[in-house]
Amino acid sequence: MNRKHSPKIKDAVDYSLALKPYEHYKLDNGIDVYSVNAGAQEVIQIEMVFYAGNSYEKKKGVAAATNFLLKNGTKTRTALQINEAFEYYGGYCNRACYNETSVVSLHSLTKHVEKLLPIVQDMLVDSVFPEEELSIYKQNSLQRLKVNLQKAEFVATRLIDSYIYGEHHPYGVYTNPGDIELINIEECRKFYEDYYLNGNCIIFVSGNFSADFGKQLNQYFGQLNTNRKKVVTPTFNVKPSEERKFRIQNDPNAVQGAIRIAMPFPNRHHPDFKKVMVLNTLYGGFFGSRLMSNIREEKGYTYGIYSYIQNHIGESAWMISTEAGKDVSEATIEEIYIEMKKLREEKIEDDELLLVRNYMIGGILGELDGPFQIMAKWKNIILNEMDESYFYDSINEIKSVTADQLMELSNKYLQPENFRELVVY
């Protein structure tokens, strides 16, 4: 045994990865159901995805409020009764609102799920949106927003999006306290009618359940009035800011700056996307990345620094994000650009490229742990209107992208003039 030498390893790139296929069927009303039955634990996750994100709202905050209030009262149940019903059986009913989609999800022990499905059905058919519930929601959202607005990282995250996409784009829009106050209940009811009652829905179900679970889904959701006609997603023009550099003081006593540097970037369908995922990992996508090694591990300017491609269905952005000491924020930005320059001018060494390949493949191998994680991969593929080739092609790119290609991509994208930069103190 020699402690100075690493044991022999199998290169992760030598693994063949497989994404367990889903089962697909339709409910009577045409709702598509994607199902992954796997895992030993007797649990189930049902995600009902509606095309009811903020892209469809005519007034700021309405999509999110409507989504939230789905759980706050139906013709026959109060908010308390709905919560009681889920919680008595240890179930969790969550909702979330994104840009294109919104989600109502149910997590439950499989043995209890049948008792919980009627409650979800009730929410999707007979929600009444009580005035009082909206007023509590507005009051509490407003308070939460006020706390968040004091956090530099919250302010920076929303401002950089508005610089990249424009404030009138669903990806760049943000709510101010005044917007919350203007939401009214009739708008929520109308939004519910248009985008839930008569909207488009896709169901993703994963976990360990009986083979004929589709019958139960059909019983409760096969008669919804959804999917009769296709909800058309409006198109929005991206309007990036004219100005490139922003320095904003949010708190005179700040000890750190929240740094966000971003450039517009195409979505997953672009031919460069999969290769850039490798380049991004190398640049700032993991703990061993160039940015982390230099700015945290070498200089100690920050607790952490990352780069990533935003997870958007439409146009996207390549983002670098960190919180650094106030006195070293400008030095941090300088280093971020220096690392771009290195990638443009110096070819990546074989060792480092192999490390990144192995790390990425090992990561995917680890991510396929259990039915919920497998479904998360599929959901991403399906909602982005792709197929399994995306998964397999991505793996091939990780294994085969060359140092020359990465340098080429660096020269194409990682140019400082492509980026907008922001520091919020």
Partner: protein, 441 residues
């Protein structure tokens, strides 16, 4: 509800008990592992799971912020950072692991320090090589100490200074603990303690705490127990045992009268914090106390949320929780007030809810609800191999890894009478520290 990573996956279900009211069958599972101890005192636990291509190696060191010198707080956590600065024979921990397709992380609490890595199972020996070398000895690099002191200072700033309400627990721990080292946060009592750490401190801490007899090794995933035994002997066996650290912490005296603190700060909303001393993790009353936190605030149908957020609208959010700490911890109720509400009125309303619970107790269906929640939370809690590995280590550190398999039945056995008793016992104003954290604008 605080669940220290209860482990459930890949185990068989057996019927445990039938509840007399609903005739419900609870799930129960046996998690399988094998345990052995090396001659140097290192405890090794192996959990096989052939359904995954991955393996996890988890090392827990029985040292946390509570073991620090009061003049040098934050050290256990700073030290955790230094564990990635190179070991005696290997200049970098992260790189070889990443080459082997692995990733890793670590965390420090007031009670313990835990390191874990996950990688393709075929490469498990790489993890043995890396982890055993840093248990053998560190490189004790000056450069690493200098950089990590800065990194931890930035971590301190990011989470505890540059945020509204960031210093709440710094103040609250000082108020609630007069004696026990839980009186400082894991990150440290002040930036200065972190800045002043020396290489001598680092060495002394390492040789006192980072030894086989103060550590627990868990290996989980697509591995064979026999193979792990060989690897453990090979890589960890030769490391000198070290001395067993004898923990002898000052005991927190019983609080006998209420404590109050009023803080004015640049925050948008007034906030109320109330903490009551509760039981150590291994006390049987812990389970009732844990369920009580769920009765009060474990969801949209819980008492505090329904009464004070929804009906009376005194708070915009309100939570009851505890940290699950090994020594006697704190049952906490915290909430932000709706603008314009007098904090005394809000506090009185909280006390009334507690009094109602004390006087009237809970209904059978309410008890059933929180037990059902415990059951399902456990089932979801650990869908990942990594969590299962660290949970085995944590239970072993509490005294016996087998606790994993009996934990659920302890929750199921809690009676309404026990809840009533603990509610009276814990929520005594003489046992309470209260902080008004007020907006100065």
């Amino acid at each position: 509800m605080f669940l220290t990573n209860l482990l459930f996956k890949h185990l068989e279900f057996i019927e445990l008990l039938k509840h007399n009211k609903t005739k419900q069958t609870y799930l129960c599972r046996m998690i399988h592992f094998e345990k052995f101890t090396l001659e140097n005192g290192l405890r090794v636990l192996v959990h096989e799971d052939k359904s995954t291509p991955m393996a996890v190696l988890n090392v827990l060191y029985d040292v946390g912020a509570r073991d620090e010198n009061p003049e040098k707080t934050g050290f256990a956590h700073l030290f955790e950072h230094l564990m990635f600065g190179g070991s005696i024979n290997i200049p970098s921990y992260d790189e070889p692991l990443q080459v082997a397709g692995g990733e890793n992380n670590a965390f420090t609490t007031n009670d313990l320090t835990n390191y874990y890595c996950q990688l393709p199972a075929e490469n498990i020996e790489t993890a043995f090589w890396l982890e055993s070398d840093r248990m053998l000895s560190l490189a004790f690099s000056k450069k690493s100490l200098e950089v990590q002191r800065k990194v931890v200072c930035e971590e301190f700033k990011e989470h505890y200074i540059n945020k509204p309400y960031g210093d709440v627990w710094h103040k609250m721990r000082q108020l609630t603990y007069t004696t026990h080292p839980y009186k400082w946060m894991t990150i440290g009592a002040s930036l200065k303690h972190v800045e002043d750490a020396t290489l001598e401190d680092v060495k002394a801490f390492f040789f006192k705490h980072y030894t086989p007899c103060n550590a627990i090794l868990v290996v989980a995933g697509n591995i064979d127990t026999a193979q792990i035994k060989l690897l453990a002997e090979k890589w960890f066996g030769p490391i000198p045992s070290g001395e067993k650290y004898q923990r002898d912490l000052p005991v927190e005296p019983k609080q006998i009268k209420p404590r109050h603190l009023e803080v004015k700060s640049n925050v948008p909303l007034d906030a109320l914090y109330k903490c009551w001393h509760m039981y150590p993790r291994m006390d049987n009353r812990y389970y009732a106390a844990d369920l009580i936190s769920d009765i009060l605030s474990g969801g949209g149908s819980s008492r505090l949320y329904q009464s004070l957020v929804k009906e009376k609208q005194l708070f915009s959010n309100l939570d009851c929780y505890h940290f699950g700490s090994t020594d006697a911890g704190l049952m906490t109720i915290e909430g932000k007030l709706v603008k314009g509400v007098d904090i005394k009125v809000a506090e009185q309303a909280v006390l009334e809810e507690l009094k109602k619970l004390q006087d009237e107790g809970i209904s059978p269906s309410e008890l059933e609800k929180v037990k059902n929640k415990a059951e399902s939370a456990m089932a979801f809690e650990d869908m990942s191999l990594m969590n299962r590995a660290s949970s085995i280590a944590m239970y072993e550190n509490l005294g016996d890894a087998d606790l994993i398999n009996t934990e659920l039945s302890k929750y199921q056995a809690v009676t309404a009478e026990e809840i009533a008793r603990e509610v009276r016992d814990i929520f005594d104003e003489n046992n309470c520290s209260t902080m008004y954290y007020l907006s100065d604008n």
